[in-house]
Amino acid sequence: MNVASMTMPDAEFRAAGTDLSERRRSGVSKGPLVDIIASGESGISWGADGAATIGALTTIAAIAADARIISAYPGIAASAQNLATPQIRRLATLGGNLAQRNRCWYFRNPHIACLKKGGDACPARSGNHLYGVAFDLGDCVAPHPSTMATALLAYDAHVVTNHRDGVTIATLLGDGSDGRRDHMLKAGEVIERIVLPPPLSAERADYKRAIGRAHAEWPLVEVCARTVIADGKFRFVRLVAGGIAPVPLRLTACERPLQGSAATAAAIAEAAKQAAFGAKPLPMTNYKLELLEGLVRDLLEHLAA
């Protein structure tokens, strides 16, 4: 694998192909391919401290159905249960989910140039960006597509690649300013496993996405929330949102006022208003901030109930 990738620096790695196959068929992806599905790590292992390590080729369906993941990392399980479709989840891998390319309809169209295809401007910014970012952090306005990255950021996961250990999700995906990239993996660098810290004691977590239809839609906005509540007060709150920025975003302005505050509907509603702090919506994406506030309220009320 490494030999092949070193001889073909433009090569794209292919795990299950659930993202790549469509781009190959359309011609958006044309370079050499390196198949890794038969040679990587898959499966979930557990440390003595109750922390999980997940092989990059573990399928989303396996994560979604794993009883121990559901119990220890309910936010990760819920994310895996809700993304894509059942048929895709049975094939798609965790590593592939993190390294997938974005879903922008300009990027996916083989006839249109864009920053991520070597062009010099983002056509969605001046064109139709209905599903674009509401936190405008870079030249490209496509939100990051990885639901699992949203969940893994909420859990402070680290990624191990064939080149590096201890790569945070923020390091893996960057700060969103580089409009030419969906991730910061170097040529020939491939994700091998994902290392999770142990869950906090008595923590609860959940994930939800705002979509138009009932199922099977890319999120307009998605949030993974973790809380520890004791004596009616929030002792720990972690909120990470996807679908709103070129990278998953921690909602620290929302988390801060809740630390130590009463876990009441009123406090939650007040804090949820801070979800949009720092937002820079585009002309067509203001609505995402409303949905973001609603999702934060929904999840925290559910976790506080």
């Binding site: 192909g17 479709t85 059942p86 169209n109 056509p123």
Partner: protein, 895 residues
């Protein structure tokens, strides 16, 4: 070379790294039950089992199947039907059948897991919906699918094979039904089309020779018009035929040309701007595509704005002045609103496709078409061939909805390539082509003014529609408001606004849903202002006898009587109930002929009609079987071939009303002929005298043309009668030019819809739908219900999810994949109550008229009225997506 085990046999896998399993299955192994639709893992039509687990084969690299077992639909229940296949058949969980193999593969696997762990417990609707959330059905067979999955899991189909209400259901649940995309002749070439990269350009120096030089290329032809101008992205420039798709695409890419870009304009708002570049100069206007089903009249042009077309206005000046006075006087009863509807794509799961083959001077064309007879005539005329030398075949059609009624580029390219290559050629549009250049229901801006009189009558109505018709003309939306709710004066004006986008096409009740979206909300608003029950007001203003009965039914529904008071709710989730009305014309096709024959002791029914999922085969079989005390399966129905007796096109909801009367007449003739030729009478006391007679009868043939209707009951009039003299003219033109007759009686639908709004996440969910339909006697109850359900779910798609999006600068269609063009899934299907009112069409032989279009007309305004009931906001633009709900709710909170 790697191998897999497929349906119990060894299958080889190509070394090509880019080979996908779906292509290996379909093209190399010729297992065509597995369908390729979206190519992006969204719709599930290509679902197969990989080591027993359902996966999408359109995204699966063929190499991933190495050493594994693959089961396709052909392998499911290969030793007798799987219980899930039986359940799909029995519950009519399918219409066109193109999505069915994927659904069946997934549902069968779900069943097998469920039975192992849960025995015969019945899965909930939510569990079924989650399991099937990776599948889409455009016909909307979801209701039957819910029932089928629940009943199969409950063990109710473990036994014998059921009788299906749809006679071809077995072929569709086993993957044997062959569609145009499945046709493969020996030495067949694959077509591909070079399409315009710019919205408006002159194409010069087109050089086809580099494509011709590629090995395996059989033909390359130009498709450019004589003005060498393309007027939308995706307009055809040239076509190629190669030994396989890859070769064809390579050849397309090799063609060279100079593209001189011309000023372009995209969409309604830009197109109507005074300074906009002109799409068609005066001498080019005849090049605009005509998107009307029934012709369409002349109109004046001003830049890109074509119109006004106001043939159906009535005392327009008076309407204008009354409405202006009421506006100036701030009359509180005057309703004035501007509504917007989006461009809706047909999104047929079987793409537009044609396979052409010449044998000497005979041409056979398989087409995914709604009109085999009509296509034969058009092809014969265009290519100057004798009609008996052209054969058009469509055994099964994977959805049409109006988009497959004309001679399309897929067919033209296939024929011309086949002629040039001297080999059969198949042209199958890919999903991007299907969702961008095959037509659509145009978006429109609708300005409506509605004025009740002080006495509570409907005094004046004005509706101006500006339709976003791209490079097409002849949208009719506003004019349709003439045929319902009589008023003292009506000012109804239609405009086409042209721009550099592909042209529209007829789509299920074409201008009906947009017209109703504006009119039915205005009626609702008037009722609220007049403090009259909205159904009561419709009863007062709408004297049509069919709808009067439907209003009584609707007013009596518990959900209506117990609906929330307007603006009475404050919580996160709010419920609302809305009502709306729709009508469509009762049309039938002159000359429609059904032939009945006895061959070898069996009845054979023949007609050059086609079944696009609507159930035409079954309607014919049912009628004949019932007349002879037989089962529908005893009748051989031959349709889908143009060399059969002339049949109607499957459009304008005219098939049932055209072929049932002809079938009934043919039955009478056949009975007489059987009795006349019988060697001996049936045995005394026989409980199946006809069966005996038919088995003993010599071969014989009778046929009957669709007879005229009888005299309608008092007060039953054609819809066009409402439009006075112009209505008469319109009807006359339809009859002379299209051989279509507008009969007496108005097919109608009243719908009461209950929704829930999640005000935090901006989401609207349809909870319950009550669909009242007056379409005469129901010809085939299970299939009519399926049509009603399908029309409703397409209406819900229109109201809540569907919209074509384009790039405002380049004119590219951005929603050219099923991920971005969002059609409803199974969990979006509400609980459904269908009420058939069977009176009103006794003058029609058989008593039945069509259902397909009328049932989708009132859905979007009923949803809109329900949302108003729930949250007190009049939403003016569909689809009611979360972005629109969020914006509307925010605006209200701020106010």
């Amino acid at each position: 070379m790697n191998t897999m085990t497929i349906n119990g046999q060894s299958g080889s896998l190509p070394d090509d790294q880019d080979a996908l399993l779906v292509d290996v299955i379909r093209d190399h192994l010729n297992l065509t039950g597995t369908k390729l639709v979206c190519g992006s893992g969204v719709c599930g039509a290509c679902t197969v089992l990989l080591d027993g687990e359902p996966v999408v084969s359109c995204l699966l690299p063929a190499s991933a199947a190495a050493g594994k077992t693959v089961t396709t639909i052909e392998g499911v229940g290969s030793a007798g039907l799987h219980p899930m296949q039986r359940a799909f058949m029995a519950h009519d969980a399918l219409q066109c059948g193109f999505c069915t193999p994927g659904f069946v593969v997934e549902a069968a696997a779900f069943h097998d897991h469920w039975r192992l762990s849960r025995g015969t417990a019945i899965p909930s609707r939510e569990e079924i919906a989650a399991a099937l959330s990776g599948h889409l059905c455009r016909c909307g067979a979801y209701e039957g699918i819910y029932r089928a999955v629940a009943d199969a899991c409950a063990g109710r189909f473990d036994g014998v094979d059921p009788t299906a209400p749809r006679i071809e259901a077995r072929d569709k649940v086993t993957g044997l039904a062959r569609y145009t995309v499945d046709i493969r002749h020996d030495d067949q070439l694959e077509g591909g089309i070079l399409r315009a990269p710019a919205a408006h350009a002159r194409i010069r120096n087109l050089d086809l020779s580099p494509a011709r030089a590629i090995a395996g290329v059989g033909a390359v032809i130009s498709l450019l018009a004589d003005d060498e101008t393309v007027r939308f992205v995706g307009a055809p420039i040239a076509a190629v035929a190669g030994r396989d798709r890859r070769t064809a695409l390579q050849a397309v890419a090799a063609i060279t040309y100079d593209c001189e870009k011309l000023p372009a304009v995209i969409g309604l708002d830009a197109g109507r701007h005074q300074a906009a570049p002109v799409v068609f100069e005066k001498q080019d206007r005849k090049r605009a595509h005509n998107l009307a089903e029934g012709g369409g009249g002349p109109a004046s042009w001003r830049g890109n704005v074509r119109g006004p077309s106001a043939l159906f206005s009535q005392k327009a000046k008076r309407a204008k002045s009354w409405l202006a006075e009421a506006h100036a006087a701030s009359d509180p009863l005057l309703v004035e609103r501007t509504f917007r509807v989006p461009t809706q794509q047909h999104a047929c799961l079987e793409p537009h496709a044609a396979v052409a083959r010449f044998d000497g001077d005979e041409l056979t064309v398989h087409i995914s078409t709604q009109a085999v007879h009509d296509m034969m005539e058009k092809i014969a005329k265009r290519y100057k061939l004798a009609r008996d030398k052209v054969r058009v075949i469509a055994d099964h059609v994977g959805g049409g909805f109006g988009s497959k009624g004309s001679l399309g580029m897929e067919t033209i390219a296939a024929i011309e390539l086949a002629r040039a290559a001297k080999a059969p050629v198949r042209v199958v549009f890919d999903r991007e082509e299907e969702l961008s250049v095959t037509g659509y229901r145009p978006a429109a801006e609708l300005q409506i003014s509605l004025l009740p009189s002080p006495q509570g009558a409907l005094k004046a109505l004005s509706l101006t529609a500006q339709a976003d018709t791209g490079t097409g003309v002849n949208s009719l939306i506003a004019g349709l408001a003439r045929l319902i709710y009589p008023a003292e004066a009506k000012d109804l004006v239609d405009f086409d606004v042209l721009s550099n986008l592909p042209p529209g096409a007829p789509f299920r009740g074409p201008g009906g849903p947009p017209m109703a979206f504006a009119l039915e909300q205005a009626i609702d608003e008037a009722a609220l202002r007049m403090k009259v029950d909205p159904i009561e007001l419709r009863k007062r203003w709408d004297p049509d006898p069919n709808r009067q009965r439907l209003y009584d039914w609707a007013a009596d529904l518990d959900v209506w009587r117990n609906r929330p008071l307007p603006s009475s709710q404050t919580g996160r989730y709010r419920r609302g109930v809305g009502v709306a009305t729709g009508y469509w014309l009762y049309l039938w096709q002159q000359g429609s002929t059904v032939e009945l024959a006895i061959r070898g002791g069996r009845i054979v029914a023949s007609c050059a009609v086609q079944d696009i999922g609507t159930g035409t085969r079954s309607v014919i079989a049912d009628k004949v079987a019932r007349a002879f005390d037989l089962e529908p399966q005893d009748i051989d129905v031959r349709i889908g071939h143009s060399n059969l007796p002339q049949g109607p096109g499957s459009g304008g909801s005219r098939v049932t009303a055209s072929i049932v009367p002809a079938t009934l007449l043919a039955i009478e003739k056949l009975k007489a002929e059987i009795e006349r030729t019988a060697a001996r009478p049936p045995s005394p006391g026989s409980n199946a005298p006809w069966r005996e007679l038919i088995a003993a009868a010599p071969d014989l043939v009778v046929s009957a043309k669709r007879p005229e209707d009888g005299k309608p009951a008092n007060g039953v009039r054609p819809a066009l009668r409402e439009a006075g003299f112009m209505g008469w003219v319109f009807g006359w033109v339809l009859r002379i030019a299209n051989h279509m007759v507008v009969g007496a009686g108005v097919p109608s639908s009243v719908q009461v819809i209950e929704i829930e709004v999640d005000t935090w996440l901006g989401k609207v969910r349809v909870v319950n739908a009550h669909v009242g339909l007056a379409i005469g006697k129901v010809a085939a109850p299970a299939l009519a219900r399926s049509q009603a359900a399908g029309a409703l779910i397409q209406g819900i798609g229109y109201a809540l999810y569907e919209a074509r999006e384009t790039d405002p600068i380049t004119g590219h269609v951005l929603t050219a994949g099923m991920e971005d063009y969002r059609i409803p899934g199974i969990a979006d299907m509400p609980r459904l109550d269908v009420h058939f009112d069977e009176a009103g069409f006794d003058h029609v032989p058989g008593g039945s008229v069509g259902i397909g279009e009328v049932a989708t007309v009132p859905t979007s305004p009923a949803v809109a009225n329900a949302i108003h009931n729930a949250i007190g906001i009049r939403m003016t633009e569909i689809p009611f997506r979360p972005d629109r709900l969020a914006a509307a709710l925010k605006g209200r909170d701020a106010a």
